[in-house]
């Protein structure tokens, strides 16, 4: 069987490999392969950054075993010698709030790394980044130590949280076992994108850690230039505000896009966040490269009898009406009216008064381009489509649109350019044209002020013909 290998040019470690026949027929693998050929990779063995992976073609009898990772320079020194006092860390154990230092102390994490960081006011960790090993294209972060006298480099494995971030104790114990067996014994519940992280896994145990997490029902990924973990809100699992089935939608996301999550190949990371209503508990409208927000179109409904009871029980409708951001509510002491035209379905009155409920005409809005870092600083995602049907189990219309957006991004964006920076640079009008998304007023706070819009040769030709 002919195998195509991509290896580190410095130490020869095989980063990824494919069957040659698969590479010819599988479009996903081709994209991933092109990505690795052209873009930068961090070698997990010697921590070199390179854009020039070596390609080898070898004949093998059976599926090759993963090679043992070579020892790198940052792992030379033994650990544990040196000062053991940690006065700054100790101070952080005081005070009423549960202390992260208390947690770190109960594990095999080298607390001196943190103490020195606090003492020197500078991180003691060295170079690192996302990397992959054969069979595990995403889900691993490696970081060297800048203080080999204190600690070796520390790697982590990242896994997807279960739906609604619910855990059976069985799962949580299994996760704890993995962390105890292979890592420091410290969990990250969770990283800000709601990924699970197991920290302190030595290179040679990465593969075993991954296998054991998967066996516990926690698949790995969400690192690198890939679709990341889709963070959803609790939705139908406990919330009466939810307008669409956010939990089922996240599951459908993973069913459809698992390869895009686990095999990085895009210009840069793509974070999906999914909130079931405009309250946006996942902060998708701040952080999502793709933000999916449940919305409703028809006006909120008022249950008169319930409203009556609520007011008699002390509910302050005058205050709520006054706080409506678009002044759509009128309350005369007995009767509440909501001006359906002025109402922007912001959820405020619905949150505050149980007699007011969302309308029934429900779908999702899709926004794109949110991010916190990058060339232009924090950018909020902008509206691409204000209303898309959200139909289980596949949510096809929603995800077709998302796929179109990321296809355009994949094809046109520069290396390490976030979707938001790409849209910024391209102009949203051109972006919508490329993605085949029609213009709607909901995409605009207002139509343009400047007169610099484009005309196609066909449009001009039509005018010329008319003039004849």
């Amino acid at each position: 069987m002919l195998i195509v290998q991509l290896a580190c040019p410095k130490c020869g470690f095989v980063i990824e490999q494919y069957r040659a026949d698969q590479l010819e027929t599988d479009a996903q693998k081709q994209k991933r392969y092109q990505y690795l050929r052209k873009k930068q990779t961090l070698c997990p063995s010697c921590l070199t950054q390179t854009s020039k992976l070596e390609e080898r073609r070898v004949e093998v009898e059976a599926a090759p075993e993963a090679e043992l990772l070579a020892e790198g320079p940052s792992e030379a020194a033994p650990v544990g010698e040196g000062p053991t006092a940690t006065p700054l860390c100790d101070e952080l154990e005081r005070g009423p709030w549960p202390s992260h230092v208390t947690e770190l102390k109960q594990t095999r994490y080298h607390l001196q790394m943190y103490e020195e960081g606090l003492r020197q006011k500078k991180t003691q960790w060295g170079f690192g980044g996302y990397t992959s090993i054969p069979g595990v294209a995403s889900g691993i972060l490696m970081r060297a130590s800048a203080r080999p006298d204190i600690a070796k480099g520390a790697n982590l494995v990242r896994a997807f949280c279960p739906s609604g971030t619910f855990y059976s104790t069985k799962t949580l114990r299994a996760l704890s076992d993995v962390a105890d067996r292979h890592g420091y014994g410290i969990l990250h519940l969770h990283a800000t994108t709601c990924d699970i992280e197991v920290l302190g896994v030595p290179k040679e145990e990465l593969r075993a850690t991954v296998d054991e997490l998967v066996a516990a029902g926690l698949d790995v990924g969400s690192t690198g230039d890939a679709y990341r973990n889709c963070q959803e809100c609790i939705g139908p699992l406990r919330c009466e505000m939810v307008l669409v089935d956010s939990v089922a939608m996240r599951q459908a996301y993973f069913t459809r896009f698992l390869d895009d999550v686990q095999y990085p190949r895009f210009p840069h990371k793509i974070k999906f966040k999914l909130s079931g209503c405009p309250n946006d508990c996942t902060r998708s409208q701040q952080k999502g490269d793709l933000a999916i927000v449940g919305v409703f179109r028809d006006p909120p409904t008022i249950n008169e009898a319930r409203l009556d009871g609520w007011v008699r029980n002390g509910g302050d409708m005058a205050h709520i009406a006054r706080m409506c951001p678009t002044r759509a509510m009128e309350w005369d002491g007995r009767r509440l009216t909501i001006d359906a035209e002025a109402c922007v379905r912001c959820m405020y009155c619905i949150n505050k008064c149980p007699a007011i409920r969302p309308g029934g005409d429900r779908g999702v809005a899709v926004l794109a381009g949110g991010k916190m870092r990058g060339k232009y600083g924090p950018l909020q995602p902008v509206v691409i489509a204000p209303f898309v049907p959200a139909i289980p189990p596949d949510f096809k219309e929603v995800f077709d649109l998302c796929a179109k957006i990321t296809d355009v991004y994949d094809e046109h964006a520069r290396r390490k350019e976030r979707l938001g920076d790409f849209i910024y640079r391209t102009g949203i009008d051109e972006f919508c044209r490329l993605a085949g998304v029609p213009a709607t007023p909901q995409q605009m706070t207002a139509p343009r002020v400047n007169p610099f819009y484009h005309w196609t040769p066909e449009e001009l030709q039509a005018s010329r013909k008319e003039g004849e």
């Binding site: 951001p325 002025a342 605009m444 706070t445 207002a446 400047n450 007169p451 001009l460």
Partner: protein, 350 residues
């Protein structure tokens, strides 16, 4: 010789203004086109405001007749407003009717104050300008004819200012108005090599805001059709870069501009109709579009809502729906400052 500066303040002020300089305490609009200002002393000053020919074009013949009226009705003084209306200030209230009649005989309407259609501001257009993509004075005339009665009455929710600019240089300040008409070129500048050879090529290159112009050896330039935004900047630098074609030039319509700080605050007009063809002498499609927008605003806006305020309240979604005007990607800003126009959040009007 130049160098004397502006005349002393009093040199052109009517006595009533000199008498009450800085001492005005209130004003009202007792009837269309008539203002009554009251000073501390109790003295009332009546102003009659008058619509004028578009582009503020006044023959000396008309000017002299206006002088006669000023002599007879306002102690020999007159003024022009910031929208180029005529004002006779300090008119005896008992003679206002008579004055209005005399003005009518001159073909000049009294009105344009407060909740009415105001005098149109427009640029020179084809009367005398090399850049004009349309004729602003004619369009201003056509619109003013259509809204004639509304200049002379007070029936609007708030004032209505319409301005017409013949090209995107906007000497006619279309973007500042409740409704703005702006002439646009849609083709590329044509490059005349022999003429360009006589110009300063580095200047032509550098003046282009999008870097669309590149040298074309030996001594000319070329324009990148993907980058050109038809902004007319290069045309101003070199006679070898003419722009404009009767078949592709036309006008765009913008809505919602205003200067005052009430309501939604100062803002520019926003694009609502990307293109209408030039159809001299009356531009019927332009007039129709203005009529449609004004009628809807009159029907739906609250008292004191300028057009921009009204649209802020109902939302652009509703505006396009109610006017029936189509929305295209040309409305969606993609140029440099586009994030200012892109919607974030999901606070939609449905």
């Amino acid at each position: 010789m130049p160098g004397i500066g502006v005349p002393p303040v009093e040199a052109n002020l009517p006595p009533i203004v000199r008498r009450n300089y800085g001492k005005w305490v209130s004003h009202a609009v007792p009837r269309p086109g008539v203002l009554k200002h009251v000073s501390e002393s109790g003295e009332a000053c009546f102003t009659v405001r008058v619509g004028m020919p578009s582009n503020a074009r006044v023959s000396t013949a008309l000017a002299r007749r206006i002088c006669d009226l000023a002599t007879r009705f306002s102690e020999g003084y007159l003024r022009m407003t910031r929208r180029h209306s005529l004002e006779l200030v300090g008119v005896d209230p008992a003679r206002i009717e008579e004055l209005i009649e005399e003005l009518r005989a001159l073909g000049l309407p009294v009105g344009g104050a407060d909740r009415s259609f105001h005098n149109v501001v427009c640029c020179t257009g084809w009367i005398h300008c090399q850049f004009a993509a349309t004729d602003a004075p004619a369009i201003a005339k056509a619109i003013s004819d259509a809204l004639w009665e509304e200049f002379k009455a007070e029936g609007y929710p708030a004032k209505l200012k319409v301005s017409v600019a013949a090209c995107v240089n906007q000497c006619g300040e279309g973007s500042t108005a409740d409704i703005g008409v702006i002439g646009i070129h849609r083709d590329l500048p044509r490059v005349n090599d022999e003429e360009v050879a006589k110009c300063e090529i580095p200047l032509i290159l550098s003046i282009c805001p999008t870097g669309a112009i590149k040298p074309k050896p030996p001594k000319s330039v070329q324009v990148d059709p993907k980058r050109c935004i038809h902004c007319v900047a290069c045309v101003g630098q070199c006679v070898g870069m003419p722009i404009g074609s009767p078949e592709t030039d036309g006008v765009a319509i913008y809505v919602g501009g205003k200067a005052g700080n009430q309501g939604g605050g100062p803002a520019f007009g926003k694009l609502v109709i990307p293109y209408l063809p030039n159809r001299p002498p009356r531009w019927p499609e332009v007039v129709q579009a203005v009529r449609r927008i004004v009628d809807l605003w009159v029907r739906e806006a609250r008292r004191d809502e300028r057009i921009g305020d009204w649209i802020s309240r109902i939302g652009w979604e509703r505006f396009f729906q109610k006017t029936g005007l189509p929305v295209s990607e040309k409305h969606l800003d993609g140029y440099v400052l586009w994030p200012m126009s892109a919607r974030t959040g999901v606070r939609f009007h449905w």
